[in-house]
């Protein structure tokens, strides 16, 4: 047994294994095996290269999360801008409280024919679900290994399968609320068959000291298109660990955007695998951190097939004693000619105590490719502040104007217009809080 936090998860598993979904079939053995691998490896720690900046073992040992209870009875959404960010958009809504689906709070009605929306437990006996759960990309094993914890303990989540050529009529909003302290393990399975299309919003909110462990497995068939907008804004005592694995078949298209307003410690892992020619990924994001928040973006893109495009831009601002991490890797396999891969990360430090660690990497084994990566960390230009103030713009407003302009380049890439406006509004609110603090 490697560490105390891993021990707590193992005990949880022993106690709850028979009550977890899918125990009557293949998954029971899969869960056992996953738990065994997880316990043998223990929680990842800073001596592992990929976890150098985020010592999950230390973080979880300190917090010692036991399972979050099922929250019975009434639930009140927190009265925050993040909680209602997408409320004005006509959408299907699935609400999860403490990692459990709440039908009473959800509204997903009259789905188009060919759109199959289920709870995780209802699809675990199906072959497509098994394939998604058992899949591994193996491009960054130290990071992907933590999925074992989720596989062993996953309880609920959304399973969305869209049949060939069908388009989801309006965005599907997955709202995850941490109402009580404790750990939850969520698994989402998304399969878009050939030519299918969907837009998914995902928000993670709550004021509890919770550990949210979320794995989302996505498979896009030929010519399928997925837009994904994620918003994360959780409590200072919360830990957020999210892994998104997307496999793209030929000419499929993924456009994702993540706005991280953070929590105590967050780590978002994005694994992308091109498995067919001519596919395209836009994986972008922005973050605004303050106080003692720590946010780690980890992104690995595997160009295993020719003629695919991946563009990544992450921009963030860090105030207080916050810490940001960006680790990105673009792999271009020997036969993946005509790859267009770009990965950029830019951070602005608003305080002397804030810190940013950026590590973009390129591994190129093909010769006919267009690849670029770049990383900058800077401060707001004093000359620019002076210039704006010399026109009568007060200092706080001048800083806000410059920082918004900095983030706008990333926010312009949110793949849904109303969601884009909603996220911009959240950034404005973030500044308003900021003003109140200083």
């Amino acid at each position: 047994m490697s560490d105390r936090a891993a021990q707590i998860f193992a005990e949880t598993y022993d106690r709850e294994r028979t009550a977890l979904p899918g125990t009557d079939g293949w998954l029971a053995r899969r869960r056992d095996a996953a738990l065994k691998s997880f316990v043998e490896a223990g929680l990842p720690h800073r001596r592992l290269e990929e976890w150098k900046y985020t010592d999950l073992r230390q973080v979880l040992e300190k917090a010692a999360f036991v399972p979050a209870p099922a929250h019975e009875g009434a639930v009140v959404l927190p009265d925050t801008a993040s909680a209602s960010a997408f409320a004005a958009i006509d959408r299907h809504l699935l609400v999860f409280v403490n990692g459990r689906h709440r039908a009473d709070l959800s509204k997903a009605v009259r789905l188009p024919k060919g759109v199959e929306l289920h709870a995780l437990a209802d699809v675990l006996h199906e072959q497509w679900a098994k394939e998604l759960v058992e899949r591994r990309f193996d491009d960054a094993r130290q990071s992907e290994n933590i999925v074992d914890l989720n596989t062993a303990l996953m309880r609920d989540g959304v399973a969305l399968r869209i049949r060939k050529g069908i388009r989801l009529d309006k965005p599907l909003h997955l709202l995850f609320l941490a109402a009580d302290d404790g750990a939850s393990h969520t698994r989402n399975l998304i399969l878009l068959e050939e030519g299918a299309e969907a837009t998914i919003f995902e928000s993670h909110i709550g004021e509890a000291a919770a550990f949210a462990d979320i794995v989302t497995d996505v498979s896009l068939g030929d010519n399928a298109r997925l837009s994904h907008v994620k918003l994360q804004d959780e409590a200072a005592g919360a830990v957020h660990l999210a892994t998104l694995r997307t496999r793209l078949a030929a000419k499929s298209h993924l456009s994702s955007f993540t706005l991280t307003l953070g929590c105590g410690v967050s780590r978002m892992q994005n694994f992308i695998l091109f498995a067919g020619e001519g596919a395209e990924v836009h994986a972008n994001g922005a973050y605004a951190l303050r106080a003692a928040q720590h946010a780690d973006q980890f992104c690995v893109i595997d160009h295993a097939t020719p003629d695919c495009t991946s563009h990544t831009l992450f921009k963030g601002v860090l105030d207080g004693a916050s810490e940001g991490v960006f680790q990105g890797k673009v792999i271009v396999r020997p036969h993946a000619q005509k790859t267009d891969g770009r990965q950029m990360t830019h951070a602005l430090l608003l305080s002397r105590d804030a810190a940013m660690n950026a590590k973009p990497e390129l591994e190129i084994y093909a010769d006919d490719v267009q690849c670029a990566h770049g990383s900058t960390v800077g401060e707001i230009s004093r000359d620019a502040i002076f210039y704006l103030r010399s026109r009568g713009i007060p200092e706080t407003q001048a800083r806000q104007l410059l920082v918004s302009a900095f983030l706008d380049e990333a926010l312009a890439l949110v793949p849904h217009e109303m969601a884009r406006d909603a996220l911009k509004l959240l950034i404005k609110g973030w500044f308003a809080d900021e003003g109140g603090r200083s």
């Binding site: 230009s381 004093r382 000359d383 620019a384 002076f386 210039y387 704006l388 103030r389 010399s390 026109r391 009568g392 713009i393 007060p394 200092e395 407003q397 001048a398 104007l401 410059l402 918004s404 302009a405 900095f406 706008d408 380049e409």
Partner: protein, 249 residues
């Protein structure tokens, strides 16, 4: 309007201005001329309140108030405008957004209502047309990728919109060809009024052919070493600054 007495300013521990006395009344245009390194830009930055330009001695009163007690943006709202020699590029902020933010910030301080988008657009177009600032320029990020002439025209547009009581033009002629210079000068002249004073800082007499000053001061070695009427500029054009450099050394 502006009363500078015995102004000493230190930059990076070095005294650059060593006792400036200058009195500018409403409606007057004063030119400050001098060789490179004489302290011309330091004077303009000290008046605007730039960080790092420490006043060690002396006083500056502006419209009866102690200017040195005011922050940069307070000075601007009180009516001081500095046209930069090298306007700063502001990526991501369109010229239009910037102008609106600046104007409304100043109006707010003065207790006036903020202009909505429609009223603002009408006003800015009216001010932009005579100095040849196009809608396309207004949509671009402020000063980013602007030519030298465009940058200076954008400065004059800001001045026209903000309607300051005292405009300080720091080497507004630098980097301009003769046509651009004429456009900019015409823009400045259109803003001359009995209520407004101007301080035109320049190395060359050329600009003063188009913006004709009431008074000319020669700055050398951190002091005003000579003052006179507009004919002083022509005299300097012929004789150069050599005599004053020698004085300073």
């Amino acid at each position: 309007m502006l009363e500078i007495k015995n102004l000493h300013v230190t930059v990076d521990g070095k005294e650059i201005l060593k006792g400036i006395d200058l009195h500018v009344r409403a409606g007057e245009v004063h030119a400050i001329m001098g060789p490179n390194g004489s302290g011309k830009s330091t004077l303009s930055y000290a008046l605007a309140g730039r960080e790092g330009y420490g006043v060690t001695e002396g006083s500056v009163r502006f419209k009866g108030r102690d200017l040195l007690e005011m922050d940069v943006d307070e000075r601007a709202a009180a009516g001081i405008f500095l046209a930069f020699q090298y306007p700063i590029e502001i990526p991501g902020v369109t010229t239009m957004t910037f102008l609106k933010t600046a104007l409304n910030a100043q109006r707010k301080v003065r207790g006036e209502d903020e202009l909505d988008a429609v009223r603002f657009l009408k006003l800015v177009r009216e001010k932009a047309k005579p100095i040849n600032v196009t809608d396309e320029m207004l949509k671009r990020a402020l000063n980013v990728g602007f030519s030298g002439g465009e940058k200076k025209r954008a400065e004059i547009l800001q001045m026209a919109l903000l309607e300051p009581s005292l405009a300080v033009l720091d080497e507004t002629d630098s980097g301009l060809d003769i046509d651009a210079l004429k456009t900019v000068a015409a823009g400045v002249n259109a803003l001359r009024s009995p209520e407004r004073a101007m301080l035109v800082i320049t190395h060359y007499q050329r600009l003063l052919d188009y913006i004709v000053p009431d008074m000319v001061h020669v700055l050398s070695g951190g002091r005003i070493v000579r003052s006179g009427g507009k004919e002083l500029a022509h005299e300097l054009e012929k004789s150069g600054y050599a005599a004053y450099d020698a004085d300073a050394a």
